[in-house]
């Protein structure tokens, strides 16, 4: 197992790069500890597959280096990097039995029959495949097959890292959480470095201790699920994590005072630096309350989702969404709202100001 370091990585699929958008990946720096569970999260086109291919050695980065345990791997090919990869669709040998599928990577490494048998049994037990070991793989359901793919990735103890590329896409929704819990449990048991790539926030936040959020080729935040929700470092994280996402509203800063919609707003910290081309307030719908005074708003629409009410309001500064309990009485017409200061952040050119 290995500690993984990505140093000043940038990648472009073009020969010449004139501006930021010509880069698929920009200035990526990551330190992943040995034995950690990590996720790369972002919408399609954010650069996460490019990054995965650079780590596995399928792609050589335009700039920067990839280190495993401080050893430079940048110019090594995928085989030399010793990694296991699990893809979106099951990759198995249909004509082999479940046992032989799981044993295959071990036999290739020249392990003795008794070692192979004990490892296969161990992993089969963890994945609840023991009773099907002698069956042919071709007769299994999609999730059964994907379990074998997972098993094959997990069975070797000598790999540097196990990488999962959207591994649950083909799995039925009601089975997804079963496999998700299996993976999480396996990570706790075998303690290997695992990297999980997905566009699904639930999968990323559930699996990983640390989530790396990517947007337009850049890492916009690395943090625990709680940190990403409570304190987004970039407006994209605020928008992408949480449902509905964070309210991002234009504001003005003068002499350290935040002005929004003609009102003075208190943020979680005093603001000093102000030379930005754009400044915005970020506040999640969960952290806004109706109050006697505060920002005057017009109530535009209330959607009752059974357990919440999502209230659309409008004020001079823009549209604001508020999330209330389903039992809360929502005033009609006009109302006043206040932001919970602890969770009110100011963003300069989309990055949090602290």
């Amino acid at each position: 197992m290995a500690k993984i370091t990505l140093k000043d990585l940038s990648h472009s699929y073009l020969e010449k790069q004139n501006n930021d958008s010509d880069w698929a990946l920009r200035d990526v720096n990551i330190d992943w500890k040995d034995g950690g569970a990590y996720a790369l999260l972002g919408p399609s086109g954010c650069g996460k597959t490019t990054l995965l291919n650079i780590i596995s050695g399928l792609l050589k980065p335009t700039k920067g280096s990839v280190l495993f345990n401080d050893k430079d791997m940048t110019s090594l090919n995928p085989v030399e990097r010793d990694i296991a990869q699990i893809f979106q669709f099951p990759v198995i040998y249909d004509t082999m039995s479940v046992y032989d599928n799981l044993a295959f990577p071990l036999k290739n490494r020249g392990l003795s029959d008794s070692e192979v048998a004990s490892k296969v049994k161990e992993i089969a037990k963890m994945l609840e495949l023991t009773s099907t070991l002698n069956n042919r793989a071709s007769g299994l359901t999609a999730d059964g097959k994907q379990k074998i793919s997972l098993g094959r990735g997990l069975v070797r103890s000598d790999v540097n890292v196990i990488m999962f590329d959207e591994p649950l896409t083909v799995i039925d929704p009601h089975l997804k959480w079963v496999l998700r819990s299996k993976l999480k449990e396996l990570h706790q048991k075998i303690n290997r470095t695992m990297i999980y790539v997905t566009h699904d926030q639930t999968e990323a936040l559930t699996f990983a201790d640390q989530v790396v959020v990517m947007h337009e080729g850049q890492i916009v935040q690395t943090g625990t699920p709680v940190e990403l929700f409570e304190k987004p470092k970039h407006t994209f994280v605020g928008h992408f994590i949480g449902s509905p996402g964070m309210n991002i509203l234009p504001c003005e800063i003068k002499n350290g005072e935040i002005n929004f919609s003609g009102q003075k707003i208190q943020s979680h910290k005093a603001i000093k630096k102000t030379n930005f081309s754009k400044t915005q307030i970020g506040i999640r719908p969960e952290f806004i309350n109706f109050s006697k005074d505060g920002i005057p708003v017009k109530i535009k629409r209330v959607s009752n989702t059974g357990r919440h009410k999502i209230v659309d309001t409008e004020c001079n500064g823009g549209n604001i969404k508020i999330l209330s309990n389903a039992s809360t009485e929502i005033p009609s017409g006009s109302a006043h709202i206040t932001f919970n200061q602890k969770y009110t952040y100011v963003y300069g050119d989309n990055w949090i100001i602290e």
Binding site: K184, E185, T202, L205, H239, G242, P244, G306, R307
Partner: protein, 354 residues
Amino acid sequence: MSLELKNVEKKVGIDTHIYTTSLKLEKNTINVLLGSTLAGKTTLMQIMAGLDKPTSGEIWFNGENVTGMKVQKRNCSMVYQQFINYPNYTVYENIASPLEITGVKEDEIKQRVGKVAELLKLSAMLNKKPDELSGGQQQRTALARALVKDSDLILLDEPLANLDFKLREELREELPKLFENRDCIVVYATTEPSDALMIGGNTATLLEGKVIQYGKTLEVYNKPENLISAKVFSDPPMNIADIIKSGDNCKFKDNNLQWKSSVKIKDGTYKIGIRPHNITAYKEGNNSVEINGKVQISELSGSESLIHFTNGNLNWVSLSNGTQQKNVGEDTKLYMNTDEFLYFDQNNRLINNG
């Protein structure tokens, strides 16, 4: 304006696709058909549109029997899950196409396309071809084409299913607004209870070719007539357990958890349904009871946490606000809000329909 299905039945060979159904949809309403795949949503819509004929029964529109009348003679539009656009036409031409066919004057086409494009945020893309657009923009183009022609009946068959999570969130919020000031009947098919709740209007729950319940969306959600309707309209799945009532006390059949109930029912055995959000990591309501459990997994969606746990022989799902992280296998304590329990009799019909 109204659309009425009178004793409509659809058989294909010996299979019944739609069991005898009567349903009346009023003007200016959005009606959600909610059910899993193969529930009969698409068949019902095709019958409503005139794309398919019922085996028996009649369809009435505006007091006129339109059974067997071809789709071309009916003023209706349909949008499918797969975005369907003309690849060689620009976005403008795509949206304008139904008006061109019916011979609307050029100035009027321009004005109507402009208006609907603005509504769907497509104004900047009118000169592009569909393949230059993102999935969300392509589906908005298909929606715009359905909206531009002032149909009496607009049928949307899982229009958001192929879109990214965030895009879906945005569009299902915009959709009801689009129809607010239009003189038409909208039917929207989906497999997702959250879609129905966000869209509001009326909902029909469907299972295996039968309409189980039809009414105002929130009423169907809060007061499901029976256990089937409750199950269809619950995601994550509803927790269901057998209970024994004696005097003021209720207890689960499979464990010793007890609570007082004011529900006026005779002593005996019943079933209860507990929605996941009524089992939480914190107390809610004045009459909550504690339940101990072993955590199978906790899943985070960003702003909410699902905790799957076992208690005795039963598997439970709970949904809490905020990020509640629990380890697999951990013993935990949760709270059930007994005020929100739904009681069903032995025939699975709701009892506490007060």
